[in-house]
Subunit: 384 residues, 4 copies
């Protein structure tokens, strides 16, 4: 299978997440980057084009020009990766969608619920893929966790505890010249909640991915813990979930020494599951009347979806690169299948969808509303 | 030093926590049990007296008779351990306090704030010790954690996450003939919140012990997760703490497969600390710009208070028996010092005080009030 | 059941292991110390007698006087604990055995195979108990490990890896005034191998206890790693075990930062088991085609022998005190049964026997011989 | 920097390690595969060529034809990866070396010491790179471990314990149609020791990489533990190392349930270090008189060599793909520098050299000789 032609919006020199996208695209040899609008700075843009050996005429000044030009080429890009700051996610995605080009977009999907709905609608109308890179949900053992829930190993879910708490932004970096932090605390760029938009959406998607439960109502406390910070950096959210379950989410940028900090625990009437992104190849299943069990990536006893997301034998940690590449490989499979007029591999589903992105924006808006209303229980359903 | 003469109220055959109290009293040879009112059932009472080799005339039908009789003997008990269901804690304590006998009481201190205040007042007036057995706070590494906070290793505290979540009562045991569970879900016996009275007070005291912070206001969600249960078995409490810190507490009886489940994490501006009762000999200190550190019980680099609570060299786990015995040894030291007219060892402070017990009752009442009021932020200070 | 009257040889002020013996005797209320020959130093001897509230006429100058006098008293000791340096283990044990007094002795049993055989023979002839305190083998999860092997969970054993490696004696303590280390490196007191006599016998017994396998031949390398040290402090032993299995033992006093350092892994044709004294409440069972399993102390699914050795519910670590007390409780049960003319609880078997001690002495002598012979494979069977 | 043109010998459909090599070459975009002799089976060879989109005229029937043809093309390969069974490593490497083409070769270097020396000599004479893929030694935290030893954090090394023990070949796979196992137990293909050639060389290199110590003499026990197996599958090697240190190596194919199983511990006079391939982002440093420390990949406090081998921030596990890619990236850097006439990055040194491969072959031959000689201590130095 030949690799798909990929374009990239964002990801100039010094960008944070773009190298991870490029390695993910490359690892399984399913994409080759052939065009880009990497930076609004012309020099930086050209420099990145050269580093990636892109033909100079395919290094564009902005995403609009790129979408138009590439759509008109016979050898134009088949897919674009959008890896810009948050406020460009929706407009850039729309530009490519409208030109019939499939989109892989970093999270969050948009800066408002309304924007997200517009992107979802456009993609549906144009019949292109909109894939959101909640890369932490693309680990094999997350698929296994979902499978365990679906097949009843836990029984009815009673309590979910998810957290994504880090400490690396536990001082006023935005006043120390940190450009990434500067836009993250600027709600015009980062959206209505800094901490929920940046990392809360990962925790939110992971919870939904594994449990299949949606939030009915929530009670949120958002705080700015670093003195002088103009945006929230700590969120505590209590949730009432579908089926009567309770949930707790903690997202933080001030959790000193907490490492990566994304982990989830799901407690059911029969057993619980425990997963930590820092040890992603292990899934723990625990009940009170039986030995604790640890399931491991790469083993034959795992579900088909987990095995689909794994490349090497157990014990060799695949890590972050493997999970991120799963998203790209699955997107390539789905895009390739449509282009070839065949059914895709049904397991090629590790990426988040436009619907997932829309629900996440609703979650953020409900949390902000609850916080402003003294922690009042607030509807988080799309109908609401 | 001769052992103190100890009496016991409660702790008949089949009782839960009483054998732990007796082993704790015995381990360091600071107490000998010489009297008791073990059970309201006369046969059970006599049987336990024989098992413990108590003189028959010192096995009493009830705590009132015991308090009066022992107070009048020259060789009467010097201290009593109260290990009954919750509703007897305060009345039994009062009976002995009024007879000038020191009291070691299981948690919670009382079934209401008013009761707790009455006990505190009586003990102060009579000049006797009231020691509450928050045994999980008596581990050496909890003392070290407190020391690390006090000496500034974490800087100002930003977020505290404490939880005590177990799964062993994750079905309707009270309908299956479980006598202990039956009284625990009966608010007349167990107090206003089942889960907070039973285990929440341990989490609450651990948080206060380590951080030195008090709760200003809280927002609570109390739930009965097991179908058919008449009392709360799951509590999620968001807290605003002294100094502007935020806190989260989760206490649960439905956390399937979660083992013992008491752990705490404290995040400050410089570093965090992490402690888990299942691995009590380890204290983790973590910062983002330095290697993670694990401090271990029994080492010479620990603070004096931690070394005071430790008996054996590092690597030999002292565990639950060691911690529980610390409470008794420290109570014996304080009681012995007063009787001998000397200053006690200043490190003999691992037990909780009457004031701690009073604050815990206020916490429970505030949490119940917040929950009934839709999670509204509620004052939890004693002034409030 | 009334406690047995216990005497103690050794254990004067500052002694290492004696307080552990005393706490172990006390924890389950099965013994009361009423006599002793605690120290050869008369002042220290008297001082310890006072501390333990022993009648002055039962504090003896030496074990011979004590054995004779106690045997002639109607209320004489029923059992003695020998907790002296190694060279006194056999002579003191013999003195009490010959007076019909049961013996609980610290390891190693003796300083030579011949001595050990003499003690075993004397105990058998006199019909008294000789119990050796390999306390690390008395943990509940060691009993469960043994049960798993016996019931075939591992299949035939292929490889055993046991180690007991510590770092606390990783400098020349014996030249710094450390009295305990001074006698440990003196072969006249400590026996033919310092490291094997002190800690190697624990590793050896643990391996035999769990696997049921005996060493056929061994190849040993004994080294003195600390410059200036006159005795071995590091041992590497390759073993050919019964049934064709292979074994490796590493014992060391120079393993800097290794904590307590006793752990064992047993690999069979079907699965392996893993146990570490620093986390004694967990037993890991692992196979390649199934989830890893962790069995936990206190659970109902454990074997009867494991449940017999456990006092509290899972999650509350019982630790070192619990295990050491198991030895004493089981010895009390066996002694009590004989005195009462009844069968003992068949699970009261956590202590090591005279036979175990004899086999350990053979192991040490074979290892020393192999080392002196350039690592030649050397017979370690008692017949050999 | 444009990617180097890479050829591949071996790695046909179903091959084990070849996909890892290809992903490693691709991850950092430093190589592109343009030629190959993938399989001796013509169909399989052609099929793999198509899968990798290689021009049909550059898919060769054997490595000799490939070496000659590619050397004569202006756009010929600049480097070759040899990923065949062991017996082809040396002959294939020689063919390319003699044509001036740089070689990246899977381990072991050869099937005999003599062969290995011949390859080393040829590469030196022709001035080309011979890089051996001991990928497990290319983790960032292995570089940090080496740095800690070199800068004296451990003091003089006293004991090294390294092991690589797996259980996945713990039954007679070679009799069940497993083609890879069939050649591994055939000494004509796999060399003089199955277990040492396959995995022992990884353990051996890791030990040398971190400690800088060479083996002086060794005493080995090699065993065939699976009934019916014609080759060794378990090795226990005691070592006397440079500077008087002692070493232990255990390599096994029969360690049921042991996962990947490569780990190392190094004990010095001041502290020890501990590293496990299954948690490769952590390096543990432990001393007896200080808190244990855990160093983590991605942190600024690590040595330059460790930071050089790392791509993402701490907490996102880079795993196996990252480490393997380090070897390829460093080889590309060294090759590129020579071709461009510049000095390479001095940190580009994660691959093993021809000298490392030669020393490993001497190790294997000494171990086999010792075993055949009853475990006699045997010289393992190259002079010997």
């Amino acid at each position: 299978m030949r690799p798909l032609r990929l374009g990239m919006v964002g990801g100039g020199p010094g960008a944070g997440i773009a190298p991870a996208h490029r390695r993910a695209a490359r690892l399984d040899d399913r994409f080759v980057v052939v065009a880009g609008a990497f930076s609004r700075n012309a020099d930086a843009n050209r420099q990145m084009g050269e580093e990636l050996r892109i033909a100079p005429d395919r290094v564009y000044a902005d995403f609009s020009a790129m979408a138009a030009a590439e759509a008109s080429r016979a050898d134009g890009i088949e897919c674009v990766a959008v890896v810009t700051p948050n406020d460009t996610h929706a407009p850039a995605s729309l530009a490519f969608i409208r030109n019939g080009i499939d989109v892989i977009c970093d999270k969050p999907m948009a800066n408002s619920l309304a924007e997200a709905i517009a992107v979802e609608k456009a993609a549906a109308e144009r019949g292109v893929l909109f894939a959101l890179t909640h890369n932490y949900s693309a680990y094999p053992m997350v698929a296994e966790a979902r499978h365990q829930v679906q097949t009843g190993a836990l029984g009815a879910i009673r309590v979910v505890a998810v957290e994504y708490a880090q400490g690396t932004r536990n001082r006023l970096l935005e006043a120390e010249g940190d450009a990434k932090m500067a836009w993250r605390v600027n709600s015009a760029v980062a959206g209505p909640s800094t901490v929920l938009g940046d990392i809360g959406t990962h925790a939110h998607h992971l919870m939904r991915r594994i449990t299949g439960l949606e939030i009915a109502t929530l009670s949120a406390e958002l705080s700015a813990m670093v003195p002088g910070r103009a945006a929230d950096d700590n969120a505590q959210v209590n949730m009432r979930l579908g089926g009567g379950a309770r949930g707790m989410m903690w997202c933080s940028m001030v959790a000193a020494g907490n490492g990566h900090g994304l982990r989830i625990r799901v407690f059911g009437e029969k057993a619980s599951l425990h997963w930590d992104q820092e040890r992603p190849d292990e899934l723990h299943l625990r009940a009170d009347n039986a030995p604790y069990r640890t399931l491991r990536r790469g083993e034959a006893y795992l579900c088909e979806a987990a095995r689909h997301l794994s490349r090497t034998k157990t014990g060799n940690p695949e890590g972050y690169f493997g999970a991120f590449a799963n998203l790209y490989a699955d997107a390539a499979e789905v895009i390739g299948a449509r282009r070839e007029g065949r059914f895709p591999n049904p397991n090629a589903a590790s990426f988040a969808t436009a619907r997932d992105g829309v629900i996440a924006m609703k979650f953020i808006e409900a949390a902000v509303a609850s916080h402003r209303n003294g922690g009042a229980w607030t509807d988080a359903t799309l109908a609401g």
